[in-house]
Symmetry: C2
Subunit: 156 residues, 2 copies
DNA sequence: CTATTCCGTCAACCACGTTGACTATCGTAC
DNA sequence: GTACGATAGTCAACGTGGTTGACGGAATAG
């Protein structure tokens, strides 16, 4: 089991390791650029909030977690200064969750650093190999694995 | 940022999605085969315990977490019947952590299901593409991302 | 006007991780 | 032989990221 002739764990382990490598590198660089408190999960949350803002319930749906979990995550990001809550004038039940300037800065830097990291992969593997990995993964990943498909944010 | 012409988040997101796809499929199948309580993290722990058994401190080192965290994880897996603790006759401080027959069964089935899933990827993408993904990832992942390299268990 | 649905929140709980402190034991140096 | 430092396991407190259930207030469908 999981010996060289029976491939076993290699593929999933490598996918996870590849992801972790990218994310570890990202956060090391983000810490250097003034965002040491940004954790891996926060990036997805900021992406899901988006430039237009959203509500906690909607955020939960986009991230595939309960509205309560989304609310607690927003609490933490508000405490860290990345998000703010404002009352919705049109609906007194709702509280809009919006990015602060610090949030926008973190997201901008994340995207820039990810681009650099992808460039590093391209330099080592070649553009066609990186594109092939992305193509192949796209073919194997069912659409609903990421309920988080904010249009225009993931290049897909 | 992260628009189609600036690749941004696509690669890391796809790596994570690929991993999640495989792991979700694995656990759906494991649940069907009598292991509904096995969670993603447990597979790594059982791998790290290995056929020979180990101690909580050593386990923590292999998994890259504190000995306390490893101990708590062992507690849960003991409660679920996958691991057992036995006193080390040679050293009264130590408590050997060993797999039960249920643990061995879960690990065997995990490896078998992963093999099947890899076959499914091979059927869709072709053997050379899957091998290319694994090759490329191996080249990009630093050796220390997985402190968990039990010889003979990961085919690498 | 009323019934229902929706939004945010509170509370309790679980999984998984951290640090710090503590006991018991082992190995060694004296 | 004993004293001492290193090691193994555990306990407590805490943080983060999730869950479910319950609840009050606001919007909306009838």
């Amino acid at each position: 089991m999981a010996t060289p002739d029976r491939p076993g764990f290699a593929l999933p382990l490598l996918l996870l390791a590849g992801f972790r490598t990218l994310v570890d590198d990202l956060h090391a660089e983000l810490a250097r650029q003034g965002h040491p408190e940004l954790r891996p999960a926060h990036g997805f949350v900021l992406q899901a909030v988006g430039p237009a803002g959203t509500t906690a319930s909607d955020l939960g749906q986009r991230l595939g977690v309960s509205k309560q979990a989304a609310g607690k995550t927003v609490d933490r990001l508000v405490a860290l200064g990345y998000l703010e809550r404002v009352d919705d004038p049109a609906d007194a039940r709702r509280k809009l969750v919006r990015m602060t300037e610090k949030g926008r800065d973190g997201l901008r830097r994340s995207a820039a650093v990810f681009d650099q990291l992808r460039d590093r992969w391209t330099a080592t593997l070649g553009a066609d190999r990186v594109a092939a990995i992305e193509d192949d993964l796209r073919r194997m990943v069912p659409a609903d694995v990421f309920r988080l498909d904010v249009p225009g944010w993931f290049g897909g």
